[in-house]
């Protein structure tokens, strides 16, 4: 599904690379978690995948089912089935939620050569997903994320994801700022989307979400590259031991850096073993 090779990314005109030769492969049907300390490049990765402007791709490639993702506009990536769940969902007063949902769904359908969604079917679909996310129907007529609490914004992101049914969902710290009940609702939403045709990447600080959405693979991002990969037990180990030991393991002498990267790309990918 998603294949990232030697991705090197800088922000704006800054020469320091935030992503520094990142390799990652997420096979179809799997859920992968990307963890890591603050500033390790997790959110940058999520943004770059979705096509946010302001980043400079210095090297590397990203493909979605073999198709070059980096040459596509953000909206084209969405049409290809990529969905980014925002860490900080944007408030857009004056554009109401239900309009956005419908416009987004119809944009995808148009891309697939399908007619616009029937108004009745659409409402039935949205109502069902609203219930699942425990969002009151009155939210639909409100401005996008306008005046929503942190938790409501995150649930709204998942609601959009459920309506759009992406092939690849990148969820950027969707668990942050959620109380335990909201976390369960959000996790439940994500789990309903798990399927053999779909891949999900969970970007997160904490192990907490992974108790409810059990990942197939866990990767640790340190200084812009995958420093360690493992199964779900790696997340538990990180919870217990913190990130320092991975950071130390990743700290290799400059002379050995090239060799370490080559090595890292074989052992550090997300390929299911």
């Amino acid at each position: 599904m998603l294949k990232i090779e030697n991705l090197q990314v800088a922000v704006g005109d800054n020469d320091n690379e935030v992503l520094n030769g990142l390799d990652l492969e997420v096979p179809t049907g799997e859920v992968h978690a990307i963890m890591g300390p603050n500033g390790s490049g997790k959110s940058t990765l999520a943004h770059v995948l979705a096509g946010r402007p302001g980043y400079r791709i210095c090297a590397g490639s990203v493909t979605l089912d073999g198709r070059d993702l980096l040459s596509l506009e953000p909206e084209e990536r969405a049409h290809e089935g990529l969905f980014l769940g925002f860490q900080y969902p944007v408030e857009i007063p004056g554009v109401n939620n239900v309009y956005l949902l419908k416009a987004a769904l119809n944009a995808q359908r148009k891309h697939k050569g399908l007619p616009e969604v029937d108004a009745f079917e659409f409402l039935t679909l949205v109502r069902e997903k609203l219930q699942l996310m425990r969002i009151d129907e009155s939210f639909l007529s409100r401005g996008v994320n306008e005046g929503f609490s942190g938790g409501e914004k995150k649930r709204n992101e998942i609601l959009q994801m459920l309506v759009l049914e992406p092939r690849l969902a990148i969820l950027d710290e969707t668990d942050s700022g959620l109380d335990i009940d909201a976390l369960k609702v959000v996790a439940g939403g994500i789990n309903t989307l798990r399927s053999p045709e779909r891949s999900i990447v969970l970007v997160t600080h904490y192990q907490r979400l992974l108790e409810h959405v059990v990942p197939d693979r866990v990767h640790v991002l340190v200084r812009g590259r995958i420093a360690k990969s493992g199964d779900r037990t790696l997340a538990l180990e990180l919870e217990r031991r913190g990130y320092d030991w991975v950071t130390e393991e990743a700290a290799v002498p400059p002379a050995a850096a090239g060799a370490a990267r080559a090595k890292g790309s074989s052992s550090g990918t997300g390929r299911a073993v």
Binding site: E75, R77, H79, V95, A104, G143
Partner: protein, 436 residues
């Protein structure tokens, strides 16, 4: 004397004999003209007049028509009528009974000025209570042809009350049009007034409107003004309002039309606890210039005002809003907020938003925010990431930008009409259909 000033004097001399004394006496017209000649018309060198191109005034014939000529106008040429509102239509400033439909309501007296002999103030600053830039109002005083005189008696509740339609139908080389409104609201009364300015035909109209509002103790005035004159029109306007104790005035001003539209608003809060909310929307395209200068004076204690402006400028248009708030020495406990936002939607377009505060007392709460810029990148990316086409996303954000203020319009049918017009002005009528 400048070319324009001498032209005005000549046109006045020629027209004086047919200007109706029932609207304003010859004496008052002459003194208005004298005052105007003494002050001179504004020039582009003045700070508060630098956005408007005053040049075309040199080619205007300032006299109104002696009598309405040829063009037959029917109800179908006018905006759809709003249910419940009494409609009074004026063509080139003169009452047109065949295009009007009076509604009888006790305590509500609406009369064309020509037909009444009750004493009426001049708008242009002859009364001591008025201040501000009244030069174009003086011009209206000199040439006034007719207008709507509205009296609301004490404690009368008339939220859906009067709609005034001012139609400009003559080219400025031929004659000028002088709409005029005088609204007096007695204590405890509530009134909803809609004021529209439109053109029929594609002439380069010259319109110079003067409005005077007086709101007595604890009255409430909701005033909607929609300027949709033709693409070649020059539209000038002076609005003066003064508020007594606990009076409340809401002004919604929407500018869509005209080649040049300049509105000068002078509001005085003379009574304690008086309140004013000014909502203004302006959408300019091509070579349009929209300029609003709003001067609000807090004179009495514990008065409150808010100003919200949203302007979009496309093409080579220039959209300006200058909001000046003064707080007098005695106006302690004043609360004043300004939120002025402009959106640039073209590389050659211009937006000027300017909040100004002059405070002569302590114990006030004044805040102002002014922004002028392009569409918000974060919002745009959010919509794109959901698969919306770039054009659709941009269109939607422009709409949302205005909707913030447009949503404050409390007359649903009027709001719908305005939204339709806005979508048309943004050249997105079909695309935004679903939102309307």
């Amino acid at each position: 004397m400048s070319t324009v000033s001498s032209r005005i004097a000549d046109d006045f001399a020629a027209a004086e004999q047919y200007l109706p004394a029932s609207v304003l006496s010859t004496e008052r017209r002459r003194s208005a003209l004298q005052a105007l000649q003494a002050q001179g018309l504004p020039t582009s060198r003045e700070e508060n007049w630098k956005y408007v191109n005053l040049r075309p005034l040199e080619k205007v014939r300032f006299a109104p028509l002696a009598a309405r000529t040829g063009k037959a106008i029917t109800v179908a040429d006018l905006p759809p009528q709003l249910l419940g509102y009494a409609r009074y239509t004026f063509v080139d400033g003169v009452f047109a009974p065949e295009l009007s439909s009076a509604v009888d309501r006790p305590g509500v007296l609406i009369e064309p000025m020509r037909r009444t002999s009750q004493p009426r103030p001049a708008v242009g600053g002859l009364e001591a209570r008025q201040s501000g830039d009244l030069r174009f109002a003086l011009l209206n005083d000199a040439f006034a042809t007719d207008g709507a005189s509205i009296r609301i008696a004490a404690e009368i509740d008339c939220p859906a009350c009067v709609e005034l339609v001012f139609v400009a139908a003559t080219d400025s080389r031929e004659a000028a049009s002088y709409p005029r409104v005088d609204l007096a609201v007695a204590s405890g009364a509530r009134v909803g007034l809609i004021e529209r300015h439109v053109s029929i035909g594609n002439d380069a109209n010259f319109v110079n409107c003067a409005v005077s509002i007086s709101a007595a103790r604890a009255s409430f005035v909701q005033h909607y003004r929609i300027q949709q004159t033709g693409a070649r029109a020059q539209w000038y306007d002076t609005l003066s309002a003064d508020l007594a104790e606990s009076a409340r005035y809401q002004l919604f001003s929407v500018h869509l039309g005209a080649l040049t539209a300049r509105s000068t608003v002078n509001i005085q809060l003379n009574g304690e606890r008086a309140e004013v909310d000014l909502y203004a929307v302006s959408v300019g395209d091509a070579r349009q210039v929209h300029d609003t200068y709003a001067r609000i004076e807090h004179i009495a204690p514990r008065t409150r005002t808010s100003q919200s402006f949203r302007g979009i400028s496309s093409g080579r248009a220039r959209v300006a809003f200058n909001g000046k708030v003064t707080v007098s020495a005695g106006a302690y406990g004043t609360d004043s907020r300004q939120s002025l936002r402009g959106l640039l939607a073209g590389t050659e377009a211009e937006i000027d938003v300017r909040p100004q505060l002059e405070i002569y007392t302590d114990d006030v709460r004044c805040s102002h925010g002014a922004t002028a810029g392009k569409l918000d990148d974060d919002m745009l990316f959010y919509l794109l990431s959901r698969g919306l086409e770039r054009e659709t996303a941009q269109r939607l954000l422009k709409w949302a930008f205005l909707e913030d203020v447009v949503a404050k319009i409390e007359v649903p049918e009027l709001r719908r009409q305005i939204e339709q017009s806005l979508a048309g002005q943004l050249k997105e009528a079909a695309a935004l259909q679903e939102l309307l």
